[in-house]
């Protein structure tokens, strides 16, 4: 269980930008957040890294996508959302057998709430706002995970 903003990459150079985009062309990401602003922001960040992005407005939409056969390599999950929050959605997805990397992205302050969210089945947790360094770290871990499987 890892949380925080650990990342080892520095600013991306033009050459490494291209390499990273090429490596990530087949990775699919689901951004789950009730804020249109955050969805647009994360969508842009991720597309800069060459990722294919889909968005969902709440946890239930995310769970429904998986029920209908969608699959994603990475899910960026907000915590506080209407209808179904991120913690419940994460638990539901793990119960369904979803093994995608799930990263919590939220502005939670309380350590207890962060702990509960992690224990719902997150792989990592980052506080908002997500940064390019956070995404670099996540993608490095995702590529490691995919290489192991």
């Amino acid at each position: 269980m890892v949380s925080g903003n650990s990342a080892s990459s520095s600013s991306l150079s033009m050459k490494s930008d291209e390499d990273i985009v090429n490596n990530n062309n087949n990775l699919r990401v689901l951004v789950v957040d009730d804020s249109p602003m955050i969805r647009k922001l994360h969508d842009m960040y991720l597309k800069k890294f060459g990722l294919k992005v889909q968005v969902a407005e709440n946890g239930k939409q995310a769970v429904d996508l998986f029920h209908f056969g969608a699959s994603f390599d990475l899910i960026l999950m907000d915590k506080e959302m209407p209808i179904m929050d991120g913690e419940e959605a994460t638990k539901e997805l793990r119960t369904m057998g979803v093994t995608s990397m799930i990263v919590g992205v939220t502005s939670l302050d309380s350590p207890n709430e962060k702990q509960a969210f992690m224990e719902a089945g997150l792989d990592y947790f980052f506080t908002k706002p997500l940064t390019t360094d956070n995404i670099s770290f996540i993608l490095q871990e995702l590529n490691k995970k995919n290489n192991k499987n």
Binding site: S35, P36, M37, I38, K40, L41, M44, Y45, K48, E80, T106, S107, D109, K128, P129, T131, T132
Partner: protein
């Protein structure tokens, strides 16, 4: 206004927004995301921030005027406002949101009301400054392509 002078003005205004603590790092990340394929990205995100903020401010006002005050609901709304403010690097607004949430945790209605006025004030100031700044950025972009 000639092109160089306009660009200089834009740069000075941008620097002052950071030096005076209105904006911080996440705003730079927004600017770095903008490119030729998405030339209005910063403006689009900021516009979404305004829309989101207007809704949340209304929700908070409503919650503050309700009796009894539901401090959990109040905190939820402010939590969302703080989240979106910090996502665009609205530093002073984010700080005032934190102060508000402290009063909320203590269920201090008067403290919440006072600090909410500060939140709204900082938001209004930032919005005015950003509107002027982004208009100058647009003018500078137009003058560059002319």
């Amino acid at each position: 206004m000639d092109r160089n002078r306009l660009q200089h003005q834009v740069a000075c205004m941008r620097r002052s927004l950071f030096d005076q603590g209105y904006l911080d790092e996440p705003f730079i990340q927004l600017e770095e995301l903008q490119d030729d394929a998405n030339p209005n990205f910063v403006q689009e995100i900021v516009t979404l921030f305004y829309t989101n903020s207007a809704r949340l401010i209304q929700n908070i006002e409503h919650a503050l005027n309700s009796r009894p005050i539901d401090f959990n609901k109040l905190d939820d709304h402010m939590h969302q406002f703080k989240g979106s403010s910090s996502s665009i690097g609205a530093k002073k607004v984010t700080n005032e949101c934190t102060v508000f949430r402290d009063y909320c945790s203590a269920e201090n209605a008067e403290g919440c009301s006072r600090s909410f006025q500060q939140v709204k004030q900082e938001y209004a100031i930032l919005r005015r400054k950003l509107e002027v700044y982004l208009q100058m950025v647009r003018q500078a972009a137009v003058s560059q392509t002319a």
